[in-house]
Amino acid sequence: MKEFLEGSRVVAEIVKLCKPGVISAYPITPQTHIVEELAQFVASGESDAQFVNVESEHSAASVVLGGSASGVRVYTATSSQGLFYMAEVLFNIAGLRLPVLMTCANRAISAPINIWNDQQDSVSLRDSGWIQLYAEDIQEVADLHLIGYRIAEDKSMMLPVMICMDGFTLTHGIETADMPSQELVNKFLPAYKPLYKLDVENPITMGPLVDPDYYMEARYAVQQTLREAIKFIPKVTAEFSKVFGRDYNGLIEGYRINDAERVIVAMGSVCGTVKETVDALRAKGKKVGLLKIMSYRPFPYEEIYAALKGIPRVAVLDRALSLGSYAPLAAEVKAAFFGKKKKPAVISSFVVGLGGRDITKDSIKEVFSLLTAKERVGEFIDLKPELLKEEY
């Protein structure tokens, strides 16, 4: 049923429908309304989950790790500093092959302190072994949570999934979303049946010390599964489409790229603004398009190569930095073409919208206008030069 709901509320409603056994969260900044609503559902009896209110994000991640290890579906949400505080546990969750699902409400990282939206938090955790899926709008946020659980809990995957939604833009934005019924959710997402679980009747050990004789194989296995995930994710989204009627391939989405001469590559809600700008420029006869990355981990190199190999000029938008190196998304898009004969003549890289700096249609038009024969490396858009004067 179509409803007009805040993004955070949508996540809470969807998670409720997924019937997790354990939800754990640290309730204050940088938290969102998501867990506030979930706590309400638990308090009012609408959800049977055990809600564990903890003293830190490190503990929240540890509780869902334990919950998942004991064989139930679990959920948590955080962002920014909170996500970083979870970091060591997040690597553990992936290494232990626990199908935890969490929402990251993408926000900037300190210092300076900034509560607003960019993607530095989740992008910085790209190496953790979590599958990371990025949503463009609130409908996708809803759908990706259902898709995420299915991917995570499949016996061929057994990996955690992070659904990334832009803070404020999507968490605090209110728009129309088609909310599924419990029946449809049950049809798509059956109850979680763990392969192994911690059980006092049948004791096993999870996460023991592994010496050099075994460690590499465990890491190889995670890497191998993430490679297989590139083939597996579109299978799950195809099944999702059968039940709910909305089509995603789950990895990438091309928008008006077939005859495009210039294409922007981006992730998250900025893709909507890019699509608007593409339509405006197309109306003036400019051959432009967008390639949206939905799956940042696993990174779909081959799909990106196939989509962009015939495009003369490509601009990659990053909403995060790898300080001291190339912008992270740009570096990987470029890597997709390394050693290939057929490739764009220019792959330029732009940094936009850090710490909530608004990204307007003009920002996107500027990116297209700077996408010339001269390759740009990590060029900042909408920078204020007057603030860069050095004064001591």
């Binding site: 833009t169 209110i174 900025v270 603004t273 608004d358 249609k361 920002s363």
Partner: protein, 189 residues
Amino acid sequence: MKEIRIHARAGQGAITTAALLGYVYFLKGMYPYAFPHFGAARMGAPMNAFVRVDSQPVRLRSQIYEPDYVIVVDSTLMRGFNCFSGLKEDGIAIINGKEAVEIPKVKARQKVFLVPANDIALKTIGRPLGNTTLLGAYAAATGEIDLEHLSEAIKKRFSGRAQEGNIQAAKQGFEYISEAISYGARRAT
């Protein structure tokens, strides 16, 4: 596509106003996107809430710089800050205030409506929260939404006495502006 910008201070209910207005458009079968932008995230700090609405799902995620309509919840914001910045040539502004409010000079086709929303809210709700009055005034001033949908939205959001008070507040805001418009029309003829 229509774009509405709301100027308020944090804690004055601008997000609720945007959410209600968005919901009214939703009831009309349109696709609204309502969202806030916080300045310094503390009570009393100037902040904006926005509604962007279209017959198709809204994809544009930026703030609103060239609004069709402006709603000013707190007229003290107009001291030293241009709430009319970028207002369209034929834009309409609805301001919570009385005659004493100093209104900047507007362009020939722009319209400004003053509504004593706090006074109306005090009488109807019992607290000086002018948001629903302003939405009633918005309905009358712009003709974009009707009072019935607005009452329905208020019913969904509030219950009990707050619901009755807010429905009354919206109605009185609507009537205040309707009368001002018909008075202006009579005077012009």
